[in-house]
Amino acid sequence: MLATIGVERLEDLFQDVPASFRFPELNLPPALTEMEAFAEMQDLASANESTHDLVCFLGAGAYHHYIPAAVDAILRRGEFLTAYTPYQPEVSQGTLRAIFDYQSLITSLTGMDVSNASHYDGATAAAEAVSLAYANFRGKRTKVVLSPNLHPHYRQTIHTYNHGSAIEITGEQVDIRMGPKALIPLIDENTALVIVQYPDFFGRIYDHTALVEAAHAKGALVSISANPLALGMLKAPGEFGADIVTGEGQPLGIPLTYGGPYLGIFATRTEYVRKMAGRLVGETVDNRGQKAYVLTLTAREQHIRREKATSNICTNQGLMALASAVYLSLLGKHGLRQVSELCYHKAHYAARQISQLEGYELWNSTPFYHEFVVRCPLPVEEINAYLLENGILGGYDLGQDYPELESHVLLAVTEMNSREEIDLLVETLAEVPHE
């Protein structure tokens, strides 16, 4: 090969690299063989305690659900796993149709008109909603009303994305005990977007119709960050009149994997599709008269539009979107409702039992989905440490993000938690030493 190229040694190919820095000695360990590497990775993995080992009541944006075996069987298929973004539709109909299926499923689930092919995660999807709204008003509206009840990570991400921009964020100062209506007074003619979460970060479910009406009355858009699994039993955000629905798709068949890769859901109304970030698959025909699918409206995207693109997003979460499409297909109309209700009933059972314990009090006073807040008699850290000793992964310590919620824990219950597990949690909570 070197002869064909016309050089003598491999090193000759690197003449353009400044000689003084060429071929640095890397201070790295030597190669392992496959069997050695596998053994090392097994050791690392078993240095973790997984949700297979622990009884999990931790949620706060990532949830422990059952993943049907068929999901991974599809994800492992090399044809899906090792393909690139389907730029060449003639040899990518598999991915394209799967995305089209995904788009169809997400629009159905959210009650919206269109869904993109995915965003990175729930946080960045929420942040992209701001960009859409800002672009929609061509920068003429600069205010975003952000509910304090949106996941703290999502809010932080929105702040990061918009730091130093013209956008001014307000709303987080509102009393968290209030529902979405508390945001209404903040919406004005300069408001581009209102962002709420459904169920909110504390698990509470509110009807957002009035909020949407109020926002629309001022000409503002509303984006709802929803848990897609909750939508199996709860009114679709589309029914509230939301303009944008975002969400974290992890509950739909995606393993916890210490936080990622997950799936950013992004759906909106037809009128905003050209302002939307991310890929979109559309239906068309080929030159043989067959139905076929292709990336469309690419003129929004960075590879065509460059600095005028709606977003810089390129690689997104294709395989995770596929996972959720397989998951939603398997569960379907009945299964999703069933799982959604299982979470609901079990969470309510747990909440009821815990609220009867001395020293523990249910903070939520309004309807909630599968997460709820409990005021504890001790710092959450201490309680969680005791739970962990007993093989239980306790809830999220809300004091980290909300000073007013010190000693409040956010507990999540899913279909994975049997009644025995819930009872164990309750008993163990009752036993926490009050020293």
Binding site: L81, Y84, I99, S165, Q302, G332, G335
Partner: protein, 490 residues
């Protein structure tokens, strides 16, 4: 190609998986908030598995054939990585678990940070960004925060060479910076004159891809960086092309202030039909404090005497730009990339780049006489040829691409770099054997001949694919973006 869509498979009453009945008393459903209509498919597991299995077969993929898609580094993705990422101790841990219960993950992330620091010649790394483009965004936000903290808020200009990937200008614009395009010189390098002209005190930085998207190592890279630094700016590296540089040169040594890696290119995590990726960012010492939160650090050093391992934890850098996403980045991709690095080790990493560059130059040598190569010098891991000939005026790069499909190859990248007309951006990667390269070269040469003698073969290509050329205008005009509402329920 008669695989129906899911919505067409749906039959009322079917379900692909059963769930247990509640084992707790039922709670009342929330009044007025209950869903009335859930239009999702109703199918069996067998329907789902068949549907997606059949769909998969309509794809070209690395596992089924050569995929020389320039700038995408479509290298083979070792199967081992898929196994390690699925170990229950990695796949089933919650991101918010107490750090004592996830020391394995944190150790892995810490080590991966260290490897990336060493490979790139940096002082710190964040694993948070979800993909290359988000790495860029992170980088630009770091640059802005850096100047902000120094009171140099007037520095809002980002220079982007005209050969850059679309994400570079898009990112800069998205971060509210002013994008100025820099032209390339005749050898494909950054035009030093043009650069110098922009080096003023509004300069925030330059986004440089090196090797650039022509596959060329910028011959003046040190001078380019010197100029930017001299003007007070920072140099951001788009590391999408790091597959050429492992063990060859460390961008940090060259003076790059920060750079994103694409684990889904250089470090073999699979592309998944469009993600998930992972775009860690490495930064020089003066930028470490600005990294997004959290970063993995050692909270308590190992205690060799009592044989205790270090305690790893998550920390927020002092001037952090904040979070760029929820949780800690694409940990699943980090597991795959780390597995890959461990298998290659120090020597192996350099061999990756050497062979990637060897393969590209070999293909270039084989094709040079048949395709015009506008910037024809020794390339790095990829090169750009033109898919056009003066004496075959009807033929475009896209025709060459489509015709390649008939030979079982995925086409090269077509849509960029924009500075080459009818570009065919070819990146073979190091995992392809000479046999594959030769077969590809022969197909390319045959197509070059066909372009002159049987152009209709190209114009009508592809012929052997599940679908033929698509009506993209119709797709954009009629905008059918999902199954008709209610189509899941007859």
């Amino acid at each position: 190609m008669n695989e129906p869509l899911l919505c067409d498979l749906s039959v009322p009453g079917r379900v692909g998986i059963r769930y247990p009945a509640p084992d707790v008393p039922l709670a009342e459903l929330p009044a007025g908030l209950e869903r009335q209509n859930l239009p999702l498919p109703e199918v069996y597991e067998v329907d789902v598995v068949r549907h997606f299995t059949r769909l998969s077969q309509l794809n070209h993929s690395i596992d089924t054939g050569f995929y020389p898609l320039g700038s995408c580094t479509m290298k083979y993705n070792p199967k081992l990585n898929e196994e390690t990422a699925r170990l229950p101790g990695f796949a089933h841990i919650h991101p918010l678990q107490p750090i004592e219960t996830v020391q394995g993950s944190l150790a892995l992330m810490f080590e991966l940070q260290e490897w990336l620091i060493e490979i790139g010649g940096f002082a710190g790394v964040t694993l948070q960004p979800a993909a290359g483009a988000q790495g860029e965004l992170t980088g630009i936000l770091i640059i802005r925060a850096y100047f902000e903290s120094r009171g140099e808020t007037q520095r809002v200009k980002i220079l982007v060479p005209d050969s850059a990937h679309g994400t570079n200008p898009a990112t800069s614009a998205m971060s509210g910076m002013r994008v100025v395009e820099l032209k390339s010189d005749l050898r494909g390098n950054v035009d030093l004159g043009a650069l110098q002209a922009e080096c003023d005190d509004t300069l925030a930085g330059l986004m440089l891809t090196n090797p650039n998207t022509l596959g060329l190592f910028d011959e003046n890279v040190e001078e380019v960086i010197r100029l930017v630094h001299q003007a007070g700016g920072l140099v951001y590296g788009d590391g999408a092309n790091m597959n050429a540089l492992l063990g060859i040169v460390r961008p940090g040594d060259l003076g790059f202030d920060l750079l994103h890696y694409n684990l889904h290119k250089t470090f073999s995590t699979p592309h998944g039909g469009g993600g998930p990726g992972s775009g860690p960012v490495g930064v020089a010492a003066h930028l470490v404090d600005y990294l997004p939160a959290p970063v993995v650090a050692i909270l308590e050093e190992a205690d060799d005497e009592s044989d205790l391992p270090p305690l790893y934890g998550l920390v927020t850098p002092s001037k952090s730009i904040g979070r760029v996403k929820a949780f800690h980045g694409h940990f699943g991709m980090a597991v795959r990339a780390y597995t890959y690095m461990r298998v290659h080790g120090k020597e192996g990493l350099r061999m990756i780049s050497e062979y990637a560059v060897l393969n590209a130059n070999y293909l270039l040598a084989r094709l040079r006489d048949h395709y015009h190569v506008p910037f024809d010098r020794i390339c790095m891991h990829e090169f750009v040829a033109e898919g056009r000939w003066p004496d075959a005026p009807d033929i475009h790069a896209l025709d060459v691409s489509k015709r390649l499909m008939d030979f079982g190859f995925h086409p090269p990248t077509n849509y960029f770099p924009l500075i080459v007309h009818e570009s065919l951006m070819i990146e073979p990667t190091e995992t392809e054997s000479k046999q594959v390269l030769d077969a590809f070269a022969e197909a390319m040469i045959k197509i070059a001949v066909e372009a002159h003698h049987q152009p209709e073969l190209l114009k009508n290509a592809p012929h052997n694919t599940p679908v033929g050329r698509l009506d993209e205008v119709k797709a954009a005009k009629e905008l059918v973006l999902c199954c008709a509402v209610g189509s899941y329920t007859e």
